[in-house]
Amino acid sequence: MTLSVQDLRVYYRTLRGEVKALDGVSFELADGEILGLAGESGCGKTTLGKSLIRMDGRMKHVGGRVELDGEELPIGDTVKMNPFRFTEVSIIPQYSMSAMNPTRKIGRMVRELLDSRGVTVDTEELHRRLDLVELDRDVLKRYPMELSGGMKQRMVMVISTLLNPSLLIADEITSALDVSTQKAVVTTLKGFRDLGFVKSMIFITHDISLTNQLADTIMVMYAGKLAEKAPSDAVVNRPRHPYTQLLISSLPEVGVRYADKKLTGIPGNPPSLLDPPVGCRFQDRCPLAFDKCREEPPVVEVEKDHYVACWKA
């Protein structure tokens, strides 16, 4: 097994108190598995991704543990995490395309990055991978600004997987791209897994239709907790958590028209994570809520590999 996350809790320190962005999440990821992480904005997807590789100064590891390839990851310790980054765990962060240093040519940027890890560039391998994602080798002599969004995204993918990490985390890397480019990016990611450049992957996006094109398993989060996790097919066709069900029924599919079938969103907003409600965090918006929901529903395996945290599931 590549990754095992047990009861992970990561909070943000703020002036108004602690934001419980990740509040007791457990899951496992097998070798070769691609996990799609879905859920509304603010539910903790980025927080989970960052926790596995680099916490920022305001994040606090409050509890739980993470093992990668059988070894505990010192996620709370930025310095001790250094040897793992890039070689064992790699991330393509949200907005990474705009985060590329504009004053460096791309080739130099790659060299500096590898230098900082004490590795020299294997130019042949780099070229091979550029060919693979259909980027002209000349991109190395260009500045990030000169590349289109899709080209930049492919470049970032090549860089972050160059050292064949065990785990790759891709955070909303397709949201800013048009549909044809999204498809190309997803095809590339799948190729990277199939070629063994990465062992397993966490693909974060709020777009379930897109996740389903790539992921073996989908995990839906709600307000800092796991709501449902199952093989993609089960999440899409037989969701058991009311939140997942509503999320899926709000998707406009090709062919659905307002005039014929008006879709509806999920009324209300997620609770504040500064002071989340006791019990199920979805209770204020859930059409099925009943008394029991004031107690926290445990995560239960309702059928093989299908986990749900809901009293009614």
């Binding site: 044809s180 997803v186 095809t187 777009d207 406009p252 659905v256 008006k262 509806t264 969103g265």
Partner: protein
């Protein structure tokens, strides 16, 4: 209501503007009252450039754009913006982060309705917020970063509605939103259309265009490759490019081929 005839936009590019690039190439289409037209194409196809010309943010190089029969470049700007407004992809960047929502509205009052009484204005704001189904208490007195993307996007539409607009340019307004919020914003546009608003709905996602629009314009490298009733474009796309775009839309119950 809005009519584009042979509209082109040529940009000067290169260090000394020595070369030119044609972003929009002789585009013609029309949008009537109470009609939503989707403008669809991949990145760089010229969608936003058309939106910007309609909003008079940049001039057209050739062709004409008319609103209710009048050349838009000849209309008084303030009068034009009372009737035609735009909302864009990233609601956070459209907003000055240091202004609270109230300020956004009062700026509209200062520019367009200086004579209106405070009481009448408050009612108008309340009505506009009601139209976009926002609770005034939940949004007024808040900074943009304290609102969700969907709330902010609806607030921007409310701001446009304050001007009694007849026409809205909506450029990728849902691409930063969650599925559940996205559908609320689409439904809102559809409701407004039923009340007579004309909308140019710019998107790269055909499923969204299909959901709310009567007619669809497909743009490829600045040119129109397909134009017609939305059902027809979806059910029997004539152009290979449209078929490719259609095949690229990620669909929940259908897997992409070749991935």
């Amino acid at each position: 209501m809005l009519k584009l005839q042979g509209v082109s936009k040529v940009f000067k590019v290169g260090t000394f503007g020595g070369r030119t690039a044609t972003a929009v190439d002789e585009v013609s289409f029309e949008i009537g009252r109470g009609e939503v037209v989707s403008l669809i194409g991949e990145s760089g196809s010229g969608k936003s450039t058309i939106g910007k010309m309609v909003l008079r943010l940049i001039p057209a190089t050739a062709g004409s754009i008319t609103f209710d029969g009048a050349d838009i470049t000849k209309l008084n700007r303030r009068e034009y913006y009372r009737k035609v407004q735009g909302v864009f992809q990233d609601p956070f960047s459209s907003y000055n982060p240091i202004f609270k929502a109230d300020r956004i509205f009062s700026m509209i009052k200062e520019v367009y309705f200086p004579g209106e009484s405070a009481q009448a204005w408050r009612e108008k704001v309340a009505a506009a917020l009601q139209d976009v189904r926002l609770d005034p208490a939940a949004v007024l007195n808040k900074f943009p970063h304290q609102l969700s993307g969907g709330q902010l996007q609806r607030l921007l539409i409310a701001r446009a509605l304050l001007l009694d607009i007849g026409f809205l340019v909506a450029d990728e307004i849902t691409s930063m939103l969650d599925a559940s919020t996205r559908i609320d914003v689409l439904n809102l546009l559809a409701d407004l259309k039923q009340r007579g608003l004309g909308v140019l709905f710019i998107t790269h996602d055909l499923a969204l265009g299909n959901y709310i629009s009567e007619r669809t314009v497909v743009l490829y490298q600045g040119r129109i490759v397909e134009y017609g009733p939305t059902e027809k474009v979806f059910e029997a796309p004539e152009h290979a490019y449209t078929r490719k775009l259609l095949a690229s839309v990620p669909q929940l119950h259908r897997k992409w081929e070749g991935v």
